[in-house]
């Protein structure tokens, strides 16, 4: 019996993808529910560095799988929705409540989504 297992075989293994999605889903859930202590640190850094515009205080960063467990390729916003059933607009409305007195903005990259603060 002769066979080979490649890195791609492992990465695309359905169990591996499912475990990764489960971990990413947990990260997304935490991202939607930041704690006060968690944001105090970057907010202190924001003030001490001069309260610049678009300062990220809370970020979700995920490595996108080449294909999801349903065999669909997704970009970051699509993957976020796939994991949570929510779009970015839900993140924005949630954060607007949690940080109601802050002037917020949002920064999106190909592998992350950040909540940013701005001077009022």
């Amino acid at each position: 019996m002769s066979y080979t297992i490649t890195l791609n075989d492992l990465v695309n293994n359905s169990n591996v993808v499912a475990v990764k999605e489960s971990g990413d889903r947990a990260s997304a859930r935490l991202f939607l529910n930041p704690s006060r202590d968690e944001v105090l640190k970057p907010l202190h850094q924001w003030i001490s560095s001069g309260s610049h515009e678009n300062y990220p205080i809370h970020t979700l960063q995920l490595a996108l799988p080449s294909t999801c467990s349903d065999s669909v390729q997704r970009n970051f916003p699509e993957y976020f929705t796939f994991l949570t059933n929510y779009g970015y607009e839900h993140v924005e409305s949630t954060m607007t409540v949690k940080f109601s007195t802050f002037n917020l903005s949002y920064l999106s990259t190909i592998s992350s989504f950040s909540v940013c603060v701005n001077p009022n």
Binding site: R29, V39, P42, H44, S48, V97, S100
Partner: protein, 162 residues
Amino acid sequence: MAGNLNESMQAMRSTSLFYANSTMVGQRLMANTTISRFSTIMNPVILTVGELSTIYSINFLKESQDRAIINSFYAPTKESLTETLSTWASLGFPNPYPFCKFTMNPPELCSDGVKRDFFHYFRYLTGKKFEDYNATFEALMPGFVVIHHHTENTLTYFVIKP
């Protein structure tokens, strides 16, 4: 003051509005269990600008006060040092002899957002390590050797008669 009050009222309004909306979200949750895993029910305001400003100011003020305490600690008067060393002499110069110490509790979070223990907090405030000040004391009492010891929040300097 008025600003803080307005801010608090705004936060309360936002919170009330949120709770009003959460009922609707809750109804939707009953029909969709997937969404319920990411429920945002009961997520009120976690921090306001006013609270942040207060917390930051308190931490910043504590740092200023602690920096002043450290500065005065390393500049003892000749009278106080003489008195302490005289006591040491009257005891027959036991080595090592603790001649000064101070206790300091770092804030939960420094003003730059970093949590530090006593050792690193001291270095953050002064830019120096504890041992860097051995020479400061030795310069005040030539001929003696100064060593130090620190615990979780207390720094003690000892003098040794060679």
